[in-house]
Structure formats: structure tokens, C-alpha cells
Amino acid sequence: MICPNCGHANVDGSATCASCGQQLYGAPPAPPAPPAPPVAYAPPPGYAPPSYSQPQVVAAVPIKSHLVMAILATIFCCIPFGIVGIVFASQVNTKLAVGDFAGAQKASQTALTWSWVSIGAGLFVAVAYALLIMLGLMSGLAY
């Protein structure tokens, strides 16, 4: 299993990446973080702590900006909802740069949602249009 975060080749079936701690796909969910204060927290063996000055576990996980999706949705769906996706996708990186991880996560979700809305609406229109033309063809009214 190749880690999607850092590219480290892990043993198949590992729950987390041995190099960066990223949770791996298809692996059982990670055990809940212990409720003990951060001082008492003992990292699992093989977990390399990230080199951040603050002990923030949130930063260990990459937050996707979904910028590619938003751009695609904007220029290929002809319905300008994708623009909203680009706005939020851009916010993700801006917020990450200032360390606002919670805000970045929220923006990431919103960006993905708007890309979905745009792509869904585009698909709906395409299918509806093709059906209408088909109906017109069958009844001999159009084209």
C-alpha cells in the first residue's frame, strides 16, 4: 500500500503510514485519540512525529483544496456554480498558510460540495436534453 500522503511504500494491511502517520485506505479506522492530556499521549511505535513547533495533530493530515475539481466543474459544466467551488478551494490554501486548520477543512468540504452541485446540475441538464431530443425524434416533431 503506497501512502497517498508521502508516497512511502507500507506493508499491505497497515492501518497508518509508517513514515508520516496518514490513515490508509481500506484499513480499519484508527483507534480514537486517548482522552488523556497531550503530555500523557504516547505515539504508537513507528509513528514519526511531524516537525511542527505546535503539538497539533490536525496538521499531520493534508487537507485537500479540491481546486482541480472546481476548475473542471466551472469550465466543463457551463453552469457557473463551479466558480463558488474555486472561491472555497482558494480559501483552503490561504487558511492553511495561516494555520487555520478547522477553517481550511470547512472550506475544503464546501468546495467539494459546490463542485458536486455544478457537476450534478450539468449531468442532469445533459441527460434531460438528450431525452427531450430523443422524444422529439420519436414523435417526429423535431429535427
Partner: protein
């Protein structure tokens, strides 16, 4: 908090299936064009209802021009789509390979202002291609 963030950033069905759906849609559209059924592909809704061009207007003609290997016709139909197609197609394939754990293709580490620059670029393209005199008419589908 850690678990939540891990779930939020895990690749979803969009990364997993969109590239396949996109390839299927592209092949389908090209087959429609090639077989003379191109009118089954819907027109731009914004253009139908408001008469103004959206940033994607002309992408159908870009697809047709690519089918005929006619890069200059593609550029005339929609320069933004021609420019955006290679990086977005690469990004899609990369996301798909990542979500299946197959490979990790390289991706440039972009500064935060990149997204905003793209946003301004798309909005400017959208506005300017609706301006009806030279040189902005070059941006409208021809």
C-alpha cells in the same frame, strides 16, 4: 479531531469515479460528433437563456476540433479550455491513482495565491469574451 480530519481528507467517490465518468463522457461525445449526432449534446444553458457566453462555451467545438486534430480550431473555439485541459486531465488521473493507492504522481507545490489568480483569470475571461469589439472578440467562440 484527528479522526474527523482523516475522514474529511480521504478520497471520496468524486476522485475515484470522476476520471472514469469523464473519459466515458468524452468518448461518448466524440462518438456522437463522429456519427453526426452532435446535436444530442446540450447547448450551454446560460447562453440559451441569457444570450451571454460562459467560460465553457465552445468546449463542445474544442472536443470536435481535437477529434479532427485541429488545434487552431480548438484554440479559436475556447482558448481557456485548451489551456486548462492538459493540467486538469493530469490532475484527475493523479487523484484517481491516489484514491486507488496505485501510484503517487508528482504535483507542484502551489502557493496559496495560485487559486485566487485562477479565479480572477476565469472571471476575467468570462467577462471579456462577452465584450463585442476587438481584441476581445478573439476570446469568443469562432
Amino acid at each position: 479531531m484527528f479522526r474527523n480530519s482523516a475522514i474529511l481528507t480521504r478520497s471520496g467517490p468524486m476522485e475515484r469515479w470522476l476520471p472514469i465518468a469523464g473519459i466515458a463522457a468524452a468518448v461518448g461525445a466524440l462518438a456522437l460528433f463522429a456519427s453526426g449526432w452532435g446535436h444530442l449534446i446540450p447547448p450551454c444553458l446560460l447562453r440559451e437563456f441569457t444570450g451571454t457566453l460562459c467560460p465553457g462555451c465552445g468546449s463542445g467545438r474544442v472536443a470536435r476540433a481535437f477529434l479532427a486534430l485541429d488545434l487552431s480550431a480548438a484554440w479559436k473555439a475556447n482558448p481557456l479550455v485548451v489551456l486548462a485541459l492538459p493540467p486538469t486531465a493530469y490532475g484527475l488521473v493523479r487523484e484517481a491513482l491516489l484514491s486507488w493507492g496505485v501510484a503517487r504522481l508528482p504535483w507542484p507545490r502551489l502557493r496559496p495565491w495560485w487559486g485566487w489568480a485562477l479565479l480572477v483569470g476565469v472571471l476575467a475571461f468570462w467577462a471579456l469574451r462577452n465584450v463585442d469589439f476587438w481584441p476581445f472578440v478573439l476570446l469568443a467562440p469562432r
